[in-house]
């Protein structure tokens, strides 16, 4: 489903930083993959390349057979509708209610009002927040905000969910709740790519682990543990 082929990413600026150095790996459909490594190891860069916020300096990236390493600005929104993204800082729209935040992902892809009215409460029910649908993000806890973000990432049923440190701002109990939710989503058939440096979580999940160090892929185990 995802293939990185000899991907190199160099950030140019005052000093050139090699963020990724000749990375190659594939992720199959319905896998749950944890991406681990220290800060600056290149986890976020891999995710940014995947949701096309950055372009690789060299190499190719395929998503379901399509080369996404050189999308035009016009194609970008359409590609992004095929994946769901979850971030450490939740990235909810502060001026919209929870319902509207989730509905927004459907609105931009021209779903009808009827579909929106049916799908949004359903998905909020799945993440356990249907009763707070008319609240604003600032009125709910961090764990709840992250669940809304997951609902938004899921609502248009993308085949892939990318989560960049989704538990970074949460306490251990909320964190585990989020991970359980991601596992449940994976069980229902969605591929999940999780970047994290939370050791406990990686060891409890017992799924495939890709380890990065200083822009290089140093380990790829199918029932991995967090070990650097």
């Amino acid at each position: 489903m995802i293939e990185f082929r000899n991907v190199k990413k160099i950030y140019t600026g005052g000093i050139n930083t090699i963020a990724l150095d000749d990375i190659s790996f594939t992720i199959e459909k319905e896998e749950f993959v944890s991406l681990v490594g220290h800060s600056g190891a290149g986890k976020s860069t891999i995710l940014k390349l995947l949701y096309a916020e950055e372009k690789p300096t060299s190499g190719e990236i395929f998503f379901n057979g399509d080369d996404i390493s050189n999308l035009s600005l016009k194609q970008l929104p359409y590609y992004r509708r095929r994946i769901g993204t979850v971030f450490q800082d939740f990235k909810l729209l502060p001026r919209k209610t929870l319902f509207e935040n989730v509905a927004f992902a459907l609105e931009v892809s021209d779903h009808s009002d009827k579909e929106i009215r049916e799908l949004v409460p359903q998905i909020l029910e799945i993440v356990g927040l249907a009763h707070k649908m008319d609240s604003y993000p600032r009125e709910i806890s961090g764990g709840e905000q992250q669940r809304v973000a997951i609902a938004r990432a899921l609502v248009h049923r993308p085949p892939l969910i990318i989560a960049d440190e989704p538990t970074g701002n949460l306490d251990p109990i909320s964190s585990w709740g989020i991970i359980q939710l991601l596992l449940k989503i994976n069980k229902l058939g969605t591929t999940v790519l999780l970047a994290t440096h939370n050791k406990d979580i990686v060891n409890r999940v017992k799924k495939r682990v890709i380890t990065l160090d200083q822009g290089k892929l140093i380990r790829d185990h199918s029932k991995g543990r967090y070990a650097i």
Binding site: E53, L73, P77, R80, T85, L92, R95, E100, V108
Partner: protein, 303 residues
């Protein structure tokens, strides 16, 4: 699909506006001030024009003829003068008319009335009152008359006496125009810049939302439209606010300048310009809101 997008982005823009009370209030007050400055300048220039026009109407030169000049000759003179390009009007005032006017003007003064009676005969001369199209033309007209074929029948031209007044009026007029135009341009520029920056700041405050919308897969038009609708709403509301301030102010202020010009004339003039002012305000308001939003948002769309 287009209708759906328009409807959704409008609802979204309206929600942004409503759910951001303080920011909306700040932008609307700044935009209103801008419009108030621009429309005050328009109204002031209309008022100044009215005053100037009424003063201009009061200025003229009178050509007095000798006592024995026949009326037909004076009429001939009048039609000659009327053919000058610089002349707007020339009115014949006969000896009798002049006396009647003089009497009417001095009914309250028994000494003058008494002396007119005592003289018995009409001591006044027939005259032609000439008005120029603009005040700076009186000099040319006076010179032309003095060197015309009628100069021997003319007893006197009161131009010299009026000359100082006319010249002063000319100076005041040109200075007023220059200062007015400069001030209007300057204030408008300042006001437009302030509004532009205020809207840029509101969009800057929401740059993260734009980033989020991009991540969720919203196309650029879909991101842009709510901000543009927000700008339009700012513009329209500000125009209404300013009209609500301006109309009563004009009503209240009119009688104060009525000393210089007639109240009726002033009010009919403002009514005539009412739609123009309203239109300019709504147009300027919406244009300012929209253009500022468009420019401000470009940065965050990476286009």
């Amino acid at each position: 699909m287009l209708v759906l997008t328009l409807r959704r982005t409008f609802v979204s823009g309206f929600q942004h506006f409503r759910r951001n009370g303080w920011l909306s209030f700040a932008v609307i007050s700044i935009l209103s001030l801008t419009l108030l400055i621009i429309s005050t300048l328009i109204v002031l220039s209309i008022a100044a024009n009215l005053v100037i026009r009424s003063v201009q109407d009061k200025v003229d030169i009178s050509v007095y003829f000798k006592n024995d000049t026949e009326e037909s000759k004076i009429q001939e003179f009048r039609s000659t003068v009327l053919q000058y390009r610089e002349v707007k009007s020339a009115d014949y005032v006969s000896k009798d008319q002049a006396l009647d006017e003089f009497k009417a003007k001095n009914t309250d003064n028994p000494v003058i009335m008494q002396s007119i009676k005592a003289i018995g005969d009409n001591p006044l001369n027939a005259s032609v009152n000439i008005k120029a199209i603009t005040p700076d033309k009186y000099d040319i007209i006076a010179t032309a008359i003095q060197s015309s074929a009628y100069k021997d029948d003319i007893s006197r031209i009161n131009y010299a006496k009026n000359k100082i007044v006319i010249e002063r009026l000319n100076n005041v007029l040109s200075t007023t125009r220059k200062v007015g135009v400069t001030l209007a341009a300057l204030f408008s520029l300042i006001a437009v810049l302030i509004t532009f920056n205020a809207i840029r700041i509101t969009i800057y405050a929401h740059r993260q939302e734009i980033e989020i919308m991009r991540l969720v897969g919203a196309s650029n038009p879909y991101i842009r439209m709510p901000f543009i609708f927000e700008g339009i709403i700012y513009g329209a509301i500000s125009a209404i606010v300013v009209m609500a301030i301006l109309l009563p102010t004009i009503r209240f202020a009119t009688p104060m300048i009525a000393g210089a010009v007639s109240v009726k004339e002033v009010q009919s003039n403002f009514m005539q310009y009412f739609w123009l002012i309203l239109f300019i305000q709504i147009f300027v308001g919406i244009a300012l809101g929209t253009i500022s939003s468009l420019i401000a948002i470009r940065r965050y769309l990476k286009v």
